[in-house]
């Protein structure tokens, strides 16, 4: 068959197909009120293990809420879009998800810094909330400059200093840190270097030596970095990686040079089961910070029963229920739903659909008290926090866990930075610089 004939037939087929799609995408008359969400998932490629767990958790929770009768009767609907963890595709997904028939997006969550940066400046004009959940732009914690961006699971500066605080606890106090050597081993990208300013400051205050060593992505080879660590005779290593390839390689390479794993502390983005399992026994003892603690908390058990029991689960492998990324996804979705409840209440739209601006107000009014957490069945999984007009970075607390070879043991209570005020000053300075550069007038917060 000549090529042009094939092409013609394919084109005809494609045209027919797109017609079908157009018809099926037509807005259907909604009986009850619905609240629409867009889910920019990444399910293939190097970050797929992360994306399937996280977005699986989000979708399962939305499903769970629906099965329990929705949010004051409002049914939650959603559309997915594949981003491949790539900035350009994330923009396409965002624009595609922005409008769905007569519905408009209220919240966007890219699970990852590259995607978040690619859309961050579209949020204010489009009136969409960027709910970074434990990642993304740190100085967005200043709600005066970034009214539309939130980080309900804490930003990286607070996390890195919380790491240092935990290490000091392990060493027996801040005064014991004097003279110690700490290596910050990080992926050689902006995300990896982000915590460095905060850490340098603490190093100066506490009098320990901070050595920064970069791993070029994808980081499947870290021999030279770990030899440098050995030469420095490091007491502790804080590891700031991305992608399970790099994260597990760090552990195996540490084992190769005989560096004790119980002197390594992983960032939330490196600290999931997917990062530990490939390293095998070598991973035993590694410390990891968690903003959503893995485990079968009452809510997670209930999701398993209600959603998976009814055969509506999103995870391909149900054994991953209760893992770090899954629980983090559930945590992120809990915030969406709580924000939605707030928004309905604040704007007198109980049982009705809300718009972006209303949702934003609801998110800003999040007040997750210990009682609330207990009521939700996730007391201990998330740290309590309260957002406000100025403060957009939720719980600045992490729980430290230790890998025991098959699962994480929780080894600490919620740990925060030693000096949160100083982190706040850094954030406000950075946000002010951003505002000046981009000619933004910060709003005034009470």
């Amino acid at each position: 068959m000549p090529i042009d004939k094939i092409a013609r037939r394919t084109l005809a087929g494609l045209a027919a197909l797109s017609a079908c799609v157009a018809i099926s995408a037509m807005p259907t008359a909604a009986l009850a009120d619905e609240q629409y969400f867009g889910i920019p998932s990444n399910r293939v490629g190097p970050y797929a293990a992360m994306g399937t767990g996280y977005y699986g958790g989000i979708i399962d929770y939305l499903n769970y809420v629906n099965l329990k009768g929705g949010v004051n009767g409002v049914k939650l609907t959603w559309t997915e879009c594949e981003t491949e963890y790539n900035a350009a595709r994330t923009v396409e997904c965002y624009q595609r998800l922005l409008h769905n028939g007569d519905k408009k997006l209220v919240v966007f969550d890219t699970l990852g810094t590259p995607g978040a940066y690619a859309v961050i400046n579209r949020m204010a004009p489009d009136q969409v909330v960027l709910a970074q959940y434990g990642y993304g732009r740190t100085d967005a914690a200043d709600g005066a400059v970034w009214p539309w961006v939130f980080n309900a699971a804490g930003q990286y500066w607070a996390q890195s200093t919380a790491h240092l605080n935990f290490i000091a606890q392990k060493e027996g106090g801040i005064e014991k840190m004097k003279g110690k050597t700490l290596v910050h081993l990080h992926i050689d990208t902006a995300y990896g270097r982000e915590p460095i300013p905060a850490m340098r400051e603490v190093a100066k205050q506490w009098g320990f030596k901070l050595v920064e060593i970069a791993v070029p992505p994808p980081g499947l080879e870290q021999q030279s970095q770990w030899l440098q660590i050995r030469r420095e005779k490091a007491d502790w290593v804080t590891f700031w990686g991305a992608g399970s390839g790099m994260n597990s390689t760090a552990i195996t390479t540490a084992a190769r040079i005989g560096f004790p794993r119980d002197k390594m502390l992983y960032v939330t983005f490196g600290g999931a089961e997917e990062d530990m399992i490939p390293a095998g026994d070598a991973a035993k003892g590694t410390f990891v910070a968690a903003n959503a603690v893995p485990g079968k908390w009452p809510l997670i058990q209930d999701i398993e029963k209600v959603v998976y029991g009814g055969g509506n689960g999103n995870l391909q492998n149900p054994q991953r229920i209760g893992t770090a990324y899954y629980n983090r996804g559930v945590g992120a979705a809990v915030m969406w739903v709580e924000a939605l409840k707030n928004a309905q209440k604040i704007h007198g739209k109980v049982g009705k659909e809300v718009h972006g601006a209303e949702f934003r107000d609801g998110y800003e009014a999040l007040d997750i008290t210990p009682e609330k957490l207990k009521e939700l069945g996730i007391d201990g999984m998330l740290a309590p926090f309260k957002l406000s007009c100025a403060k957009h970075d939720g719980a600045e607390h992490w729980r430290m866990m230790q890998w025991n070879g098959s699962k994480f043991d929780i080894v600490s209570d919620w740990v925060g930075p030693n000096d949160p005020k100083f982190i706040r000053t850094m954030i406000e300075d950075s946000a002010a610089k951003y505002a000046a550069e981009n000619k933004i007038t910060p709003r005034t917060c009470p």
């Binding site: 079908c20 799609v21 559309t79 624009q95 690619a118 391909q316």
Partner: protein, 354 residues
């Protein structure tokens, strides 16, 4: 019968060598351009900002890559690196030179990319073919590393990203998708015309001579040094301008790692699927490579909804994307531009096919 040259006589050299010797082409071109300008009247924001703008920009980059590969025959895998140079250069020009006109900044960032392109093009004088292709990866990795590493390029932003300034031309802020689209369209149209001119002139003929047999070209008195580096410079210029537009009109907040090797590969695909050594092909190829994954994703989600595991469909999309490319290479190695050519030939005879 619609595409006949009969009855059109060229009575001077100038007429014979004009850009579009056929009346139909001239009329068609004019209609296309007019339609392109009028498009925002009918297209919604999604189409403008998520499809049309990146399409035009990537077509421009593909055109740059095509100049190097299709016309001058030098295989390069580093186009995304040069885009990154353009993007960050443009940001810095506007940041550091007060009141610099946007268009000038874009052109200057193209020049920056061209200079870097010449540097990384130097090995082409000695290295050929696939060896050169792999060697050009050096530019890809080095440029992204350098932009990422040194804070100066990003004005020491704490998050290591740049937020592009608004596009202001003659005091007007081009902020809406439609306005950005027009800016991109004008720049791309002008540069495309320029490329068409270059390709058919003495410069383009020199490139083709080098492509077909560089030793023979040298024997005929062409300077390989000049021709090859010229191709690298002009190609990088297009990539740089494309990169600047990609950052300013599309992404708006950019980190260096947005310009990955994956993007370079996609641009290569655009050139090959579109058709090597054709201007038209760059546009068709860019549309094809950009739209296929989006189209598959939309179709799959619409067809299967929540019933089928999206992990499966996402992987399946990848398989179909790969298979489409291979099928295309097998069935029409000369690319989409060739299909266009065939269509034109058919139109010429239609409805009398003999």
């Amino acid at each position: 019968m619609f595409y006949r040259e009969a009855g059109q006589f060229h009575t001077s050299y100038a007429q014979d060598t004009q850009l579009f010797p056929l009346r139909q082409d001239r009329v068609g071109m004019a209609i296309t351009l007019l339609a392109a300008f009028a498009l925002p009247a009918v297209a919604n924001d999604y189409w403008l900002s998520a499809i049309l703008i990146p399409w035009l920009i990537l077509a421009l980059v593909a055109l740059g890559q095509n100049i190097l590969m299709g016309y001058a025959g030098q295989l390069s895998l580093g186009s995304a690196g040069f885009m990154a140079v353009g993007a960050f250069a443009c940001y810095n020009f506007i940041l550091r030179i007060d009141g610099i006109p946007f268009v000038l900044a874009v052109l200057l960032s193209g020049v920056c990319a061209a200079i870097i392109g010449i540097v990384f093009g130097l090995p082409s004088l000695r290295i050929r073919g696939l060896y050169l292709a792999v060697a050009t990866l050096a530019s890809q990795f080095f440029i992204v590393w350098a932009l990422d590493k040194f804070g100066w390029f990003k004005n020491y932003d704490t998050s290591g990203v740049i937020t592009t300034q608004p596009i202001i031309i003659f005091g007007h802020n081009f902020a809406t998708p439609a306005e950005k689209y027009w800016v991109v369209l004008v720049i791309v149209a002008v540069l495309t015309l320029l490329a068409k001119n270059l390709a058919r002139g003495s410069v383009g003929r020199a490139w083709m001579a080098v492509r077909d047999m560089d030793v023979a070209a040298e024997v005929m008195g062409l300077s390989l040094l000049r021709t090859k580096l010229q191709a690298f410079a002009i190609s990088s210029f297009y990539c740089g301008v494309g990169g600047a537009l990609f950052a300013f009109a599309y992404l708006q907040t950019v980190e260096p790692s947005a310009f990955t090797i994956d993007l370079s590969f996609r641009i290569l695909f655009m050139v090959i699927i579109g058709g090597l050594g054709t201007i038209m092909g760059s546009f068709l190829g860019a549309a094809f490579i950009l739209l296929i994954p989006v189209f598959l994703n939309i179709v799959f989600h619409a067809a299967f909804g929540h019933h089928v595991d999206s992990t499966l469909t996402s992987a399946l999309e990848q398989v179909i994307f790969g298979a489409t490319i291979i099928a295309f290479l097998i069935l029409e190695p000369l690319g989409l531009a060739r299909l266009w050519q065939l269509t034109k030939e058919r139109l010429r005879l239609w409805p009398f096919s003999h």
